[in-house]
Amino acid sequence: MTPLQLGLLLVWGTLVGVDLVSLPQIMISRPLVAGTVAGLLAGDPVSGVTVGATLELFALEVLPVGAARYPDYGPASVAAAAVAAGGDVLRGVGLSVVVGLIVAYAGEYTILELRRRNSQVVRHRTVELATGDPRVIRAVHLQGVLRDSVRALLLTAAGLLLAGLARGWPPLSPRAGSLLDAVVIGAGMSTAVAGTLRTAGPSIGLKWFAVGIAAGLALLVLR
């Protein structure tokens, strides 16, 4: 990977990290989008969409509500796509996704830390905020997004570093690689199924989910 490609991935990872937490929340942070674009930047969009879709299965269980803790799958997808780029498209998904999951897990803690720091600033400026001075409000607000940008940048940089280490990992035997792929894809699908059943509601969700599965199987048979 060239320095230009690494730089572009760093910028893209920062943008998608900020999209999840701060702005503009247009869902470029979803793994399906973040991974595909990262793959494109790394010169291999097909590998990007493959790892992005696998991580999207994991992200389907996430409800980013209020004060809930949630993983950051945006920079994670960028790191995963960086591992997968240039490799065998379908085989080798496993290692890329494991790297993505590690980054997403670390991202959860960076979001908690960001919120703690935002809280400290608001506590320190309580009196000034109460005056309703728009300059103070703007400053507190801008500091929040700057802090988040640094968070997303550092997380992406760490993810790309991990991706570099993973690319140098001794190659697994075909059987071991196949085992890792099968396990990771299975875990992703189980997460998507369980997450959908939980969020759509067990009674209504299960009925429509079953109809969807039947329709998907019918499509497979008809293709």
């Binding site: 929340q25 869902m27 989008v33 189980s190 969020t199 989910f209």
Partner: protein
């Protein structure tokens, strides 16, 4: 059009920039509200503007896409000279209702619906179609919600509860969950066929086994054992096994 409405709408995209455990989205709400308060009697140097801004920056939380409802309603109430205590009560009522509606409509409905469609297309079409269709579909609803929210809030003021009872929103809430279930269900066999293409029979059995165990554990041990932790655990074990099994 009310001056400041467009500026306020753009600022709403950044409503969660300074989200914190003290006031949650309060600072973001004040930032988005500010353009709508500039023409209060006395202007930005006046006491009403400063008092309104001081109130706006207090505790508030809602779904980010529906925050415009609260911003519009509070701005209208401030312009109508509604007593401060009544504005605070309205904000408090909107905190829970906008949060709950947005979570059900967007996070548990439109987002998994778009994601399911995107995944199904990614599995069956060219590389760009799944992410592209997901982004377009999701953001059509997203942007429409933001536009509707701010306009509805500004039109309604303290009568904002009526806007939240609109048939469009109610029907959306009714169908979003089932449609999301349908779309994700549809995508699962297609994704399985795509990602599992070329797997040996033993690996296919392995995928089915991991899915079965994962679903049972996720439903049983949620939220302690989420999919991420399960994926890390089994992925790590498989990686270790791969180092030994050469």
């Amino acid at each position: 059009m009310k001056p400041g409405l467009v500026s306020s709408w753009f600022r709403l995209f950044a409503v969660q920039d300074s989200w914190n455990y003290e006031r949650m989205g309060g600072v973001g709400i004040a930032s988005a509200l500010e353009p709508l308060l500039r023409d209060l009697p006395g202007g930005t140097a006046g006491a009403r503007y400063r008092e309104a801004m001081g109130r706006a920056v207090g505790f508030f939380n809602s779904h980010p896409y529906l925050a415009g409802v609260a911003v519009g309603a509070v701005a209208k109430a401030e312009h109508e000279g509604v007593p401060a205590a009544q504005i605070e009560r309205m904000k408090s009522a909107l905190t829970s209702s906008l949060g709950s509606m947005g979570d059900r409509l967007v996070w548990a409905g439109v987002l998994p619906l778009g994601s399911g469609i995107g995944l199904a297309l990614a599995a069956t079409g060219p590389w760009w179609i799944g992410p592209g269709v997901f982004l377009v579909l999701f953001n059509m609803v997203h942007l429409a919600l933001r536009i509707w929210g701010l306009r509805a809030g500004w039109r309604s003021g303290t009568r904002v509860a009526g806007a939240l009872a609109s048939p469009l929103l109610r029907n959306g809430l009714r169908v979003a969950g089932p449609l999301a279930g349908l779309a994700v269900g549809l995508s699962i066999p297609l994704i399985a066929a795509w990602l599992g293409a070329g797997f040996a029979p033993l690996a296919q059995v392995g995928v089915i086994g991991v899915v079965s165990v994962g679903v049972m554990l996720s439903l049983w041990l949620a939220p302690t054992l989420g999919g991420l932790r399960f994926g890390l655990a089994v992925g790590g074990l498989a990686l270790l096994a791969g180092l030994v099994w050469r």
